[in-house]
Symmetry: C2
Subunit: 147 residues, 2 copies
Amino acid sequence: MITASNAAKQDFLPVLRELVRAYQAFASFDANGYQGTGLTVPQADVLFTLGNTAGLSFKEIGESTLITKGTLTGVIDRLEDKSLVKRRVSNEDRRVTKVVLTKKGMRLFEEVFPRQISYIKKRFDLLSKAELAAIKKSLHRLHTIFS
Amino acid sequence: MITASNAAKQDFLPVLRELVRAYQAFASFDANGYQGTGLTVPQADVLFTLGNTAGLSFKEIGESTLITKGTLTGVIDRLEDKSLVKRRVSNEDRRVTKVVLTKKGMRLFEEVFPRQISYIKKRFDLLSKAELAAIKKSLHRLHTIFS
DNA sequence: TATTGTTATACTCTATAACTATA
DNA sequence: TATAGTTATAGAGTATAACAATA
């Protein structure tokens, strides 16, 4: 009889459940952090992507946030309605629209971003360095098997 | 100077990114598996929850899938429109509606569930037993810090 | 009074594909 | 022809709160 060196028959199902639960727990914790900002998660995602840049094209934002271009138009529209970003047609290539934070958007970014990071950091601080390293390695490995 | 035994200052940010990317990679892979079934992910989630049960109440389905009751009504409506489930008012407590798979729903469950599991298993089979165990432990630890 | 599920409201995001302007 | 972004289409899920039926 050959001993399997790979993962045994059905052992992955509990791991799958843990993946989903762990992510849901994080996502829900993260979303709670945006309470009172008026931002949805995708909107915050875009705001954080634009922070500390001189503006990015739709293409660049889409690549970073994994929001597809059709959806991104709507997300940017809603951020523009709140005067948090503005569109600027690029001079080099007039097909390209750069999205830039307004003063108001920059102020919101500077308020919400560090707060959200420290809010999340508090939970990661519960981990030892070794645990954090092990988790990073595990997540990276998971990422590779699904790519 | 006191040496920090917990996670160092900003080291958690890359881990956070890995968590999001790993989950997104899995979610997108998983969603691809439902191609051709006519099911959305939440619908498949409900179908899989109902499989091998004699029917569950909205409350039970909501607890298992983390779909809130208002949303669940719509999801069940769409599954009912496709004749995959039916509603049955409980005799014990007439406030309770049990959701039960129809014959058609059961056939779909029996076709899609094992296929989806084996589709995902192929990826987990790329892991050694030790890797799988480490990943499970990491995910569980992540889950606990966000709960 | 409390609980179960429904309904209504109002958004927000999703994928997909056709379309416009520009390169 | 190819690319960047917009628009149209058609869902689908979200939170929230008021509601009806039942306990």
